[in-house]
């Protein structure tokens, strides 16, 4: 009798605890998580550093951020000046060379967009995006 009462009490409490949870789930239904899962074409700094052969680094950030500092040897290629910058990049590229694009932070889509266009429009293979971007590179250099 006591046990049955206890179970009923537990069930009632669980049902009531569900109310605020459902309210919160409804209220936050259209909020997007800020953190995104890693994408398939992403490469970590340590993986990038361990690559053999010559790697072409491409900086997808705005001109000013590139001028303030960038990965040694990196070339600038952003959407703002795509037409003007792309020929120089393609003239420096060699067949089979790995290309790594980076941006300013993990949430920045610019590097993914540059990588997509290089693959789809210029037909380049072996194009990757640096996970964590410029900040991850700087952190690894400390």
């Amino acid at each position: 009798m006591v046990r049955r009462g206890l179970i009923r009490e537990i069930l009632v409490l669980l049902c009531l605890a569900l109310l605020p949870a459902l309210g919160q789930a409804f209220y936050f239904r259209d909020r997007i998580s800020w953190r995104k899962p890693a994408r398939q074409d992403e490469i970590t700094v340590s993986q990038a550093r361990s690559l053999t052969g010559t790697v072409m680094w491409l900086d997808a950030r705005p001109d000013g951020e590139f001028a303030a500092g960038h990965i040694p040897g990196a070339k600038l290629l952003n959407a703002e000046h795509w037409d003007g910058l792309l020929p120089e990049v393609l003239n420096a590229w060699t067949p089979g060379q790995k290309v790594i694009v980076y941006c300013s932070k993990q949430s920045c889509d610019a590097s993914h967009e540059v990588a997509r266009r290089l693959r789809e429009e210029a037909n380049l293979k072996n194009v990757f995006v640096l996970e964590g971007g410029w900040e991850a590179w700087q952190e690894s250099a400390k």
Binding site: L16, L19, P20, T54, A79, P95
Partner: protein
């Protein structure tokens, strides 16, 4: 026993009510899709909000996912019952296709300190080159390679003019289908390195697009 259960019920109901009656910004929408006109310099989205709570809300920061997008607010504090908006502007530049940018809004609202607003812009491409880069390795025969150009029907292009920045390549244009053209690119030889920017201009006007042609000598171009 009954009194205990009633007390617990009262506590849980109070908690549930406290959760739903808290201060907070209610957004009209957190995702916007834009379809700017061909050639538009910017795509602008407006995210409207209202403070449905009973305390003042302060914007701590508003950041965008890349340098190509800016976000502006008219006020730093939102009083209870007050409405407002955040304007997100995406600078189109040479971007094409579907562009997804985000705006991260941080407030002092303890219940929902961070809201991410998503701006999706579909940028029409008037001339699409596939591929926009053709190359020959120096051991390869100097045979022509093809670039297919798809023109948007709004462009009303009936022919294309292709100009090479270098005499090392010759080009020819032919019509492949309705609103589709074929550019054949051929180097004079593949014995030495060469490169050219090909400027593709539709006869109906509008912005030109560019392709790159190259004869690659790996021993010279490898860094």
């Amino acid at each position: 026993m009954k009194t205990k259960i009633l007390e617990l019920i009262a506590i849980l109901v109070a908690l549930a009510l406290a959760n739903t009656c808290r201060a907070g910004l209610k957004w009209e929408q957190t995702q916007i899709e834009l379809h700017p006109e061909p050639g538009a310099a910017t795509a602008v989205g407006t995210f409207k909000y209202k403070n449905t709570g009973d305390t003042l809300i302060h914007f701590k920061s508003i950041t965008t996912s890349c340098g190509c997008t800016t976000a502006a607010r008219k006020k730093d504090d939102v009083a209870p019952g007050e409405a407002g908006e955040i304007t997100a502007t995406f600078k189109v530049g040479a971007s094409t296709g579907v562009q997804q940018k985000t705006v991260r809004v941080e407030t002092d609202d303890a219940a929902a300190p961070v809201t991410v607003l998503a701006l999706r812009a579909v940028i029409p491409q008037m001339l699409e080159l596939r591929p926009s880069f053709v190359y020959w390795e120096n051991s390869e025969p100097a045979k022509p390679k093809t670039i297919i150009v798809k023109a948007a029907k709004e462009l009303h292009a009936t022919s294309l003019k292709v100009t090479s920045s270098s005499n090392d390549f010759v080009t020819s244009v032919s019509s492949a289908a309705q609103n589709e053209f074929k550019i054949e690119v051929q180097p004079h030889d593949t014995a030495h390195s060469a490169s050219a920017v090909l400027t593709v201009q539709p006869d109906s006007g509008g912005k030109p697009v560019y392709a790159t042609a190259r004869v690659v000598n790996p021993t010279i171009s490898a860094q």
